[in-house]
């Protein structure tokens, strides 16, 4: 069954975001786990420049995400109710670790009204409205170091901001890894990736 869930603007935003995130993670790893004498993945100087350019582009792309969701009304997909939320999330988790192996049906199949299952919704809300803004704010602060408190209990404020930025960037890389894996849960391994190209969500039913 095919269901048109992903309009063109969303797909464009998504793939630009994906490319930028991959560039940022690859360059971020090069900065975090290497040094100028022992480059990893990307040469150190190039990694700094590419990370800065990609992060600036990501900020504009994020604005596109906000504006697109507000104008199209898709922002309501991110609304959630606290009532029974944990139960619903656990139900979805149970499906992933138990139900799907026994051939059970997905407890929250996507529809036009509700694209995301409760676990997906909470994850996307956390990533897009908490983690991403924090990454953007800490990254922007590192481009404007005069905005950061210089000395925090005898520790450099910029150093703390850099550590925070690295840590939060690391969680985005974990999210991306799990996100890509979950995208293989469609009728075929590639059907979700195809869906993000032509806009149609595919399901077995």
């Amino acid at each position: 069954m095919k269901l048109y869930l992903y309009p063109l603007w969303l797909r464009l935003w998504h793939w630009i975001n994906a490319i930028l995130c991959i560039v940022l993670i690859a360059t971020g790893i090069s900065l975090q786990y290497s040094n100028p004498d022992q480059p990893l993945l990307v040469p150190f100087d190039l990694a700094i420049m590419a990370h800065n350019i990609a992060s600036a582009m990501l900020c504009f792309n994020y604005l596109g995400f906000l504006v697109g969701n507000i104008i199209s009304g898709e922002i309501k997909q991110y609304h959630f109710r606290l009532k029974n939320l944990l139960e619903k999330i656990l139900q979805q988790v149970r499906y992933y670790i138990w139900g799907m192996f026994r051939g059970e049906k997905s407890p929250f199949p996507p529809s036009k009204k509700s694209k995301f299952n409760p676990l997906q919704r909470m994850t996307y809300v956390s990533v897009m409205f908490v983690v991403m803004p924090l990454t953007i704010v800490s990254g922007t602060a590192l481009l404007f170091p005069e905005l950061i408190i210089h000395n925090v209990f005898e520790t450099g404020g910029i150093y703390i901001a850099a550590l925070f930025h690295s840590a939060i960037g690391f969680f985005i890389s974990i999210f991306l890894t799990v996100h890509i894996y979950l995208c293989t849960f469609g009728p075929t391994i590639f059907s979700s990736f195809k869906g993000m190209l032509d806009g149609y969500h595919r399901s077995k039913e």
Binding site: F101, P145, E146, G156, G157, I158, Y159, A162
Partner: protein, 316 residues
């Protein structure tokens, strides 16, 4: 009981005698120094010519004037001048040949054969002898840097602010390295310009105010002994990250400097902002965080791998 009174009396007598001798010695030393200060404590001194009986006034050379109140604030305040200077100086007029005599050095008291309760400076002496300042042919001694008539040595910031300590320590170096007349007493070089030789430093004057010369010109600055091993200028620290990565506050200031400097460059605000090459030195030196992140990532990948295997196994 009688025995006890006897012991007590003896003890009191001994105490009184020792304090009286000490007081007498102090008074005597003060008296001798008083005689020295009567001339060397003044810019103009006077004496009676024993042959003509005339009272003569002379100008004391600047280098031979000792500020008495300042001297009395030093650790050697109770010393007789002749502890270090030849005893013959007690006779006036002084014999001209006395200036050819070697003065007692710090190590004479503070060395192996010195006075026992005093701190030992043998290690300092041996570090000094390895330093660029040492030459057996030249008259460079402890006193070239540490003026025994004025200096109060601070090896910690207990009684002095860091700012004052930096200024004080740097003034020792600048006495010669900032004054060509003093410098030429030790070197054949005809020109010195420390501003020029340090112009590679960003915020040069700020570094001079905030950093002691010995921080870059010695190997181990936190060790008062090792800090006497002054290195040749070629071996001085010239790598910013040497200091700016060890301390996160210093590291931040170097990062801020690089970002701001690149922003001032050509290419417009946005380009110079994004294309800057600054990086927080040390953020990737957090071993703990690096290891933790690798462990978490490995766990995530293992869980995904196990899940994928189960999916294949249960596939219908």
């Amino acid at each position: 009981m009688k025995k006890a009174i006897l012991v007590l009396t003896l003890f009191i007598n001994f105490f009184l005698l020792s304090t009286t001798v000490e007081a007498a010695q102090d008074a005597l030393e003060g008296e001798v120094n008083k005689k020295c200060f009567s001339c060397h404590g003044q810019a103009i001194y006077q004496f009676t010519n024993p042959k003509t009986g005339k009272i003569l006034r002379r100008t004391m050379s600047r280098k031979h004037i000792i500020n008495e109140p300042v001297y009395k604030g030093t650790v050697h305040k109770n010393f007789k001048c002749t502890y270090c200077h030849p005893a013959e100086y007690e006779t006036f007029p002084h014999d001209g040949l006395l200036r050819m005599k070697e003065l007692h050095g710090c190590i004479d008291c503070h060395g192996l054969y010195g006075r026992k309760p005093l701190p030992r400076y043998d290690d300092i002496e041996s570090e000094f002898q390895k330093s660029i300042h040492y030459s057996p042919q030249k008259d460079f001694s402890c006193w070239s840097c540490h003026n025994p008539h004025t200096d109060v040595i601070h090896v910690s910031t207990e009684n002095i602010s860091i700012k004052d300590l930096i200024a004080k320590d740097n003034s020792i170096c600048l006495k010669c390295h900032g004054n060509i007349d003093e410098f030429r007493l030790m070197s054949d070089r005809k020109e010195i310009n420390i501003m020029k030789t340090h112009d590679w430093l960003p915020n040069e004057s700020l570094h001079f105010k905030k950093v002691r010369c010995i921080e870059c010109h010695t190997e181990q600055v936190n060790n008062p002994v090792k800090s006497h091993f002054i290195q040749p200028s070629k071996k001085a620290v010239k790598l910013c990250s040497e200091c700016h990565s060890k301390n996160t506050v210093l590291s931040d200031s170097l990062y801020s400097f690089n970002v701001k400097k690149s922003r001032e460059g050509e290419g417009g605000f946005m380009n110079s902002l994004i294309l800057n090459e600054a990086y927080v030195i040390g953020a990737n030196r957090n071993e703990w965080l690096s290891r933790l992140s690798i462990i978490i990532f490995t766990i995530v990948v293992c869980v995904i791998f196990a899940h994928a295997l189960l999916r294949i196994f249960f596939r219908k």
